[in-house]
Structure formats: structure tokens, C-alpha cells
């Protein structure tokens, strides 16, 4: 009997202790889990929510560019599309030459084309796709700033329907809508004209957290975004890129955005030898940018490019196309594996662009084939990006420099 009473007492004593233990465990787990949204919101490597509360780096960068100086120290998470948008919105007159393309085209500078200062604006952006190009051109057109000449830097994946970065919507969606819908006659939803505010997009004055896109809202709880956040937080970039500054240098410890919108890689990136460039190229296999899933050669984007070039030509703009090579390592790798994935369409893309250029009577320069241009790994920083000197060399050898 007494044993039963003791057991009952024990059970009664254990119950609250058990509840407290469970509550403590849950609390510890919740604390760990709550780090995810906190880090995602505050570190915010892709500038989804905060855009640096003190002041938007893009605004300060454009202030510097307007004075004709280059910009150093932009954090890796600045929004390069919004920076170029801001630049365009402050333009008083149309740029004589506009360069459009991806990060491969972003290396084209005023000097390389032998132009006078202020004659060129390079709106090429990393991961730039056809929609970005149409968006930036459309933005200029919207404000009556269409250029006299357009140099479009093509990539092998430019018209791959499966290559989609979709960063253009939040930055030049209105330009894209204006040109693609109104001028080219494409069906484009008007919703894409909602542009991300440059400063503190999640703040109530900009519509608040719930005005952000659903993907952006969900990213607050995303584990991959959390990992990106903590990796960025602990990276050297986080401390290195603290202050934006004006510079007359064209190369520096940090990447430099030039006064004309073009870009230079940081010095240590540029110092890569052929082995390092090969190493960087190797890392991109088997996910060679936008080429593994290039299953339709002439699809929707091809028609869009054709229509875009026709419309631009109708505007009286002098259009030129340029193709920069892929590094020899990746080119040969894809050659050896042409039957795998959809690399065969990579090899057909150059002739397709040439045929299109001939059909539209538009000059086309360069090649995706590094061997035909005499390039080896010494001419590259990595798998896709030529050295600045090699870009200049190809441009001067092909395009009639002014």
C-alpha cells in the first residue's frame, strides 16, 4: 500500500518536471529556428528586404557616376539592375551608344570602343537575359532617350527558353512592358511593371512586407537563403565592401562600376593565371550556365529577339551584335560531350545568330568559338569571362572602333 502511495507521489512530482523539460526543449528549438528569419531579414544578401537602411548604395553610386567617376566598394549584394535604372532615370539626354547583355558584355568600356566620355552607357548586368535587354532599351525609349547605336552582346543561352533568371521584372519590368507589349505586340501582364523600391522595400512606407512578391515573403523562411545569409555574413566581402567611394582607378581591391556602367573585376580575380581560370571553369561543370537544358534552338525567345531587333531597327537605331567566346576548356568539354544534355544546340547557336543577323541585315562580330579567335585559357578570367585586354582586342579587331 505504502509503495503504491510512493509511486503515485513520484508520478505527481514527475509530471510538472516533465512539462517544464518539454517546454524548455521546445523553447530551445524555437530559438534555433527563429535565427532563420532573423538572419534572412537582417543580413539579406540579395537585398530582398532591407537594401541597407542607412542609404541605398545604388543612389550613392549613381551620384558618383554622374560626376564622371568610377565607383569602388559596392557590396556584393547591391542591386546592379536598380543602379542602372536609376542612372537612366537621371539622364538628361540619350546616350549615343547603348551596350546590352550579360556580365560578359559588362566588360565593354567607352575606351574599348574608342568613344569620347559620356557617349556610351553600358546596361549589361550579371545573369542578364533577353528580357533585361528589352527592359533597359524600353526604359530609355519610354523616356525618349533611345540611343543612336545599340551593341547587343549575345550569349549562347540568350534565346534558350529554359534559361530564366527573371530579375528584370523588379527592376525594368515597366521598360519591358512598354517595349515588348506596346511596340513588339507581345502579351505581357501589366503586373510586372511594379518596380522594387530602391530603399527599404519591406518598410510600411513602401507597401510593407505583404506587398512583396510571394517568393520574397517565403524567402524569409528559406533555408538556402539562410545559408547564403550566414555565408555572406562570415565572408570577407561583408567587411571589405563597407564603404562606397569614388575612384579614378579602373581596377581595385573591390569590383569597380565605371562611370559608363561597365564593370571591372577585383584585382585578385583579374590576377588569375590559366590554371586558375581552368579551375574556375571546371567548377561550373556539369551546370554550364543555361546550356544543359537548351533543348529548343529556335523557340519563343528566338522569336522575341528577332522581333526586338526588327523594332529597334525600325526606330532608326544602328544595331550591332557581338559574340564573345566561351573559354577553350568549356568549349572543348562541350565538344567532347556534344551528345550529352543539349550542348549540340550550343554549337548551333552561333550559326543561328549569324543567319538571323543576315536576315535582318545587321552586322555581327566575334564568335563563341575561342579557337577561331585565337584564344586560350590565358585570355580568360574564368569559364565565361574574357580578360579586359582580350575583350578590347576582339572589339578592335572586329568592330570598326571610332
Amino acid at each position: 500500500m505504502s509503495n503504491n502511495v510512493n509511486d503515485q507521489k513520484k508520478i505527481n512530482n514527475t509530471k510538472p518536471r516533465r512539462t517544464i523539460t518539454t517546454a524548455l526543449k521546445l523553447l530551445a528549438a524555437l530559438c534555433v529556428l527563429s535565427i532563420v528569419p532573423l538572419a534572412n531579414y537582417n543580413i539579406d544578401p540579395s537585398v530582398l528586404y532591407t537594401a541597407n537602411r542607412e542609404s541605398a548604395p545604388e543612389l550613392r553610386a549613381v551620384d558618383i557616376m554622374q560626376k564622371g567617376e568610377n565607383v569602388a566598394g559596392l557590396k556584393a549584394n547591391y542591386n546592379e539592375r536598380l543602379l542602372r535604372r536609376e542612372y537612366i532615370l537621371r539622364l538628361e539626354s540619350a546616350p549615343e551608344t547603348l551596350v546590352l547583355g550579360s556580365s560578359r558584355g559588362a566588360l565593354i568600356t567607352t575606351d574599348m570602343l574608342g568613344l569620347a566620355r559620356g557617349k556610351l552607357f553600358n546596361a549589361s548586368v550579371a545573369g542578364g537575359e533577353l528580357e533585361d535587354a528589352i527592359g533597359f532599351y524600353g526604359l530609355l525609349d519610354m523616356h525618349g532617350l533611345a540611343p543612336k547605336k545599340l551593341l547587343l552582346s549575345l550569349d549562347p543561352w540568350t534565346v534558350n527558353d529554359n534559361f530564366s533568371v527573371v530579375r528584370y521584372q523588379e527592376s525594368v519590368g515597366d521598360g519591358y512592358y512598354h517595349y515588348a507589349h506596346n511596340r513588339m505586340g507581345l502579351t505581357v501582364p501589366e503586373s510586372i511593371t511594379q518596380i522594387k523600391p530602391l530603399y527599404d522595400p519591406a518598410s510600411p512606407k513602401n507597401g510593407g512586407f505583404f506587398s512583396l512578391s510571394r517568393e520574397t515573403q517565403l524567402s524569409l523562411f528559406s533555408i538556402p537563403y539562410f545559408q547564403k545569409s550566414i555565408q555572406y555574413f562570415f565572408s570577407e566581402d561583408y567587411n571589405l565592401y563597407k564603404e562606397i567611394s569614388a575612384t579614378s582607378n579602373i581596377v581595385g581591391d573591390t569590383g569597380i562600376v565605371h562611370y559608363d556602367g561597365s564593370y571591372s573585376y577585383p584585382l585578385d580575380y583579374q590576377l588569375a593565371d590559366a590554371a586558375t581560370a581552368t579551375e574556375r571553369a571546371l567548377r561550373t561543370i556539369p551546370n554550364i550556365l543555361g546550356l544543359e537544358d537548351y533543348d529548343v534552338l529556335r523557340g519563343r525567345k528566338y522569336d522575341e529577339l528577332k522581333s526586338f531587333l526588327e523594332s529597334v531597327k525600325e526606330d532608326g537605331v544602328d544595331v550591332q551584335l557581338v559574340m564573345f567566346p566561351i573559354c577553350s576548356y568549356l568549349y572543348d568539354y562541350m565538344g567532347e560531350n556534344a551528345n550529352r544534355a543539349h550542348y549540340s544546340n550550343f554549337f548551333l547557336s552561333e550559326s543561328m545568330f549569324r543567319e538571323l543577323a543576315a536576315e535582318l541585315d545587321v552586322p555581327i562580330y566575334g564568335s563563341f568559338n575561342p579557337h577561331s579567335l585565337g584564344c586560350d585559357m590565358n585570355n580568360f578570367y574564368d569559364g565565361y569571362h574574357l580578360r579586359d585586354a582580350s575583350v578590347a582586342e576582339i572589339l578592335s579587331a572586329t568592330i570598326v572602333v571610332q
Binding site: 523539460t21 530551445a28 528549438a29 534555433v32 538556402p224
Partner: protein, 497 residues
């Protein structure tokens, strides 16, 4: 539908909720509908083949029981087996045969792309189940299932349809005849097992895969030591990938009250390749033992015949993985190793047993040998072609180019590429991943030890731990998964089979 996806978690939750809410008589219908939906979402074009396989084996088993005479019964089952295995051979090997036929003849015998056949999803696994079921019915060890819904639920059961475990009818089929009642123990055990698999896949297997895949993409350009490290890492990657899938399958099954077969038993703690095979992909090895090795005569027809049978079983195992010469060579090499160990083991058993430190040293050496041999043979499995595999092996043995500093530099570079942050943070990541690997290996060894010592223990790895150590493991798993888990991949190595 990927196991590692929010979609699957939602799907699983809804199915489990309906399973316990609906009347018991609807349980199997629900499971067939859910499995059909799961299978259709994963591979819509494969569904008719699965349905056909279910109908053929179900009908053949019923007819086999009804007809009289041994020869008639055998003929019915043989016909069904020819259809079942014929479909497997057609889908998995027609491309392989045509390729070789064309290279022998020197001209194409079919239009380009004609043999780019899409292999029905999970065909290698469900075919073995139907074949095993038919043979068991023919042998009379089990009765043919009369209810087509119950039978379809057993074959198509979504937790195991993609990559097993290959469930034996005698074990799993009766579970469909007596639907489990709701039990918190099953729910908690199932969730724990599923999360354990998720942790192993996201934190260990996929991180190792980044290293292995990068090195194996172009081994000729890598330092031989790096290639050797990748070869050794692949052994771990494959184990954690496949056993993670199995854990998730077992967890999903347990949520619905089903006890699927264990597929692994801490294989890398073995002291011979032969022993690894008794602890690796258990559902396949026991299937091959039961339906290939024994019918061939097993060890009943003399020692030489036994060795030949061992070799044949491994060749069948290699072929089962697919139409590549690499798989065939993989099977032959394991056959040779198995025979070698059998012959040597027989001779060594005549010697007096070792004791004390000498015994321990020999065990360590034997464990190391087993793992090295295992990983060496798996090069053929990974590379699939003989030329590529020989290229990897010859690269490893280019001893003149072995360089520790180049190896360190490459690993450091790959690490920073995997965790693009400060070197200190990347090293912390490496430490956490290494700790996760050791923790998983140690816990699974402990679990196997407990299973052997206490057979009445519940089928739940993490529940075996005392409360606070268990909580510490949970917190470690949570932190490691959040900081370093790879949640982008949704595929498993064994999905290709």
C-alpha cells in the same frame, strides 16, 4: 514527386490523416489511389506499365492456384515471369543491345532515337517484387492474394516503389490485410526515421556528392590523391544517400503503420567484403539469395559449383543495375573478391585464432581492406564504362604525380567553392559535416548492436538514446541541417535503377 520536398510532406500528411480517419475497409483503396497519384506525378508515362505488371502477376498467381498439375502451374508462372522479366529486359537493356549490335554490324539498324526508351520508374524494384511473389505462390510458401486492391497496394506502396526496400510478400502482404490502428509510437517513430534520413541526405550525402561529382567529372585533370579521396568518399556518399532514402521510406511506411524491411546493417563495420554484402542492400541480396542462388543449387552441389553460383549471382546483380559494361565488371569483380575471401577464409580458419592486440590489429586491417576493396570496385559502378573506370584507376596509380600539397590545395579550393564564405566558416562547415558523418556511423553501429542484442527493441534508431543525449543529437542535427544542409537536390543515386 521528390521525397525531399514540401509537396511530399503535405502529400504524406494528407494520406496519413485520411488513412487513419477513413474506415478500415477503405485503407487499401486509399493506399492504391495515393500510390497511383504519387507514381503518376513522378512519372506519368510509366503508370500503364506498372498497372500491367500488377494485373499480370495478380492474375497469374490466381490461375496458378486454380489449375491442377505441377506442369500447368509452372507454365502459368513461367509465362508471367517471361512477361515481367521481358519488360524489364526490354526497357533496361534494349538500348545497350542495339548499341552493341550496331557497332558490330557497322551500320545503324534503327532510326536515330528509336531506342531512347524511357525506363518506367522503379521497374527494377517492382519487377523483383512481382517475380518473388509469383515464385512464392508457385512454391506454395504463400497463398495467392485474392483481393486485387490489396495486392496492388502491396506492389505499388509509394514509400518503396521508387527504390525499395524490395518487400517480400510473406512479410509485407499480410500487413495490408490487417491495417494498423493509429499509434503515436508509429507516428513519432516514422517522423524520427524520416528526419534522420533527411539529415543524412542533406548534410552528409549531398555534401560529399559535391566533392565526388566535381572530381569525377574530369579525373584526368585532378591530382591522383584527390581522385583517390573522391573514390573513398563515393563509398560514404553512396551509403548515406541510399540508406537515407531507405530511412525515409521506412519512416513514411511506419507513419502508416507498416514495417518495411531494413536495407542496411552498418555495412562499413565489416571485416570482409563478404560481410559487407551481408549488411548492404539487404532486400536485394536476400532476394538474389532466395530466387537466384538457391535455385542454382547454392552450396548443395559441391564447393566448385558453389563458387560458380556466387559468381553468377554477382553478375546478375551487376546486370540488374543496368545496361552498362561497368555494372557487369562491377559484379564480376565482387564475385572474384567473394570467391577469394571464401577460399582464403577456409584456409585461414585452420590456423589457431589470434588473441589480444594482434587480433584487434588484424580486425582493423581487415576493416580497412574491406572498405578499400569495396570503394575500388565501386569505381566501375560510378563511371559505368570500362574505359572511364580504367582511366580513374590508372590516374590513382600515377604515383609520380602524388602530391599532398596539391591535394590539400584542391580540397581547400573545393571547400571554399562549396561553402563560399570566409575560410574559417568553411572549415567549421567541414568540421560539422565530418562530425555528422561520424555521428551517423556511430549511431547506426550502436543501433545494429542493440538490434542484435535485444531483438524486442522497437524499430527506431533515435528512440534508443537516453533523453538528453537524444535532445543534444536533435539540436545538432537541426543546426547542422540549417547551416550546411543541401536542400536543392531531390534525387537519390539509386533512382536511376
Amino acid at each position: 514527386m521528390a521525397f525531399i520536398s514540401v509537396k511530399f510532406v503535405l502529400f504524406m500528411t494528407i494520406v496519413a490523416a485520411l488513412y487513419y480517419i477513413l474506415p478500415r475497409r477503405w485503407s487499401n483503396t486509399l493506399l492504391v489511389a495515393a500510390s497511383g497519384m504519387f507514381y503518376y506525378i513522378s512519372s506519368p508515362r510509366s503508370l500503364p506499365w506498372l498497372a500491367l505488371s500488377v494485373i499480370i502477376s495478380y492474375t497469374a498467381a490466381i490461375i496458378c492456384e486454380r489449375v491442377r498439375g505441377t506442369r500447368s502451374k509452372t507454365a502459368v508462372v513461367a509465362l508471367a515471369l517471361v512477361l515481367d522479366i521481358g519488360a524489364l529486359v526490354f526497357f533496361k537493356y534494349s538500348g545497350f543491345f542495339m548499341q552493341h549490335l550496331e557497332s558490330m554490324l557497322g551500320f545503324p539498324v534503327a532510326a536515330e532515337g528509336a531506342f531512347g526508351i524511357i525506363v518506367p520508374f522503379g521497374i527494377s524494384f517492382y519487377t523483383l517484387q512481382t517475380v518473388g511473389y509469383l515464385i512464392d505462390v508457385r512454391r506454395g510458401t504463400i497463398a495467392a492474394e485474392r483481393n486485387v486492391i490489396t495486392y496492388a497496394a502491396y506492389i505499388t506502396f509509394f514509400p518503396h516503389i521508387m527504390s525499395g526496400p524490395i518487400a517480400r510478400a510473406s512479410h509485407l502482404l499480410p500487413q495490408f490485410n490487417s491495417a494498423a490502428a493509429f499509434s503515436w509510437e508509429n507516428i513519432c517513430g516514422g517522423v524520427r526515421r524520416f528526419l534522420w534520413g533527411l539529415f543524412k541526405k542533406a548534410v552528409i550525402a549531398d555534401t560529399l556528392a559535391l566533392f565526388v561529382d566535381t572530381v569525377y567529372t574530369s579525373p584526368a585533370n585532378e591530382n591522383p590523391l584527390t581522385v583517390l579521396a573522391a573514390c573513398l568518399a563515393f563509398g560514404l556518399q553512396l551509403y548515406f544517400d541510399f540508406s537515407a532514402y531507405t530511412d525515409m521510406a521506412l519512416g513514411a511506411g511506419l507513419l502508416l503503420g507498416f514495417q518495411l524491411d531494413e536495407n542496411f546493417s552498418a555495412p562499413y563495420f565489416s571485416t570482409s567484403v563478404t560481410e559487407i554484402w551481408t549488411r548492404w542492400h539487404l532486400s536485394l541480396t536476400s532476394w538474389l539469395h532466395e530466387y537466384v542462388y538457391f535455385p542454382l543449387g547454392g552450396s548443395r552441389k559441391g564447393y566448385t559449383r558453389k563458387l560458380i553460383n556466387i559468381m553468377l549471382v554477382f553478375i546478375v546483380s551487376g546486370l540488374w543495375h543496368g545496361g552498362h559494361w561497368g555494372f557487369v565488371v562491377w559484379g564480376i569483380l565482387f564475385g572474384i573478391l567473394r570467391i577469394f575471401e571464401d577460399v582464403v577464409g577456409k584456409k585461414l580458419s585452420a590456423l589457431p585464432p589470434l588473441k589480444g592486440p594482434a587480433r584487434k590489429a588484424v580486425l582493423i586491417v581487415r576493416t580497412a581492406y574491406s572498405y578499400l576493396a569495396w570503394c575500388g570496385v565501386f569505381i566501375f559502378f560510378r563511371m559505368k564504362t570500362i574505359t572511364a573506370s580504367v582511366g580513374v584507376i590508372s590516374r590513382i596509380f600515377t604515383l609520380s604525380q602524388w602530391s599532398v600539397s596539391a591535394f590539400e590545395a584542391r580540397c581547400y579550393n573545393l571547400l571554399l567553392n562549396t561553402i563560399p564564405s570566409s575560410p574559417a566558416f568553411a572549415k567549421l562547415g567541414l568540421l560539422i559535416i565530418a562530425m555528422s558523418t561520424l555521428l551517423a556511423l556511430a549511431l547506426e553501429y550502436y543501433y545494429v548492436y542493440l538490434r542484435h542484442a535485444h531483438t524486442d527493441r522497437p524499430n527506431d534508431l533515435l528512440a534508443q538514446l537516453p533523453e538528453w543525449p537524444r535532445f543534444a543529437v536533435y539540436m545538432f542535427m537541426l543546426c547542422a541541417s540549417l547551416a550546411f544542409g543541401m536542400f536543392g537536390s531531390s534525387s537519390f543515386v539509386y533512382f536511376q535503377f
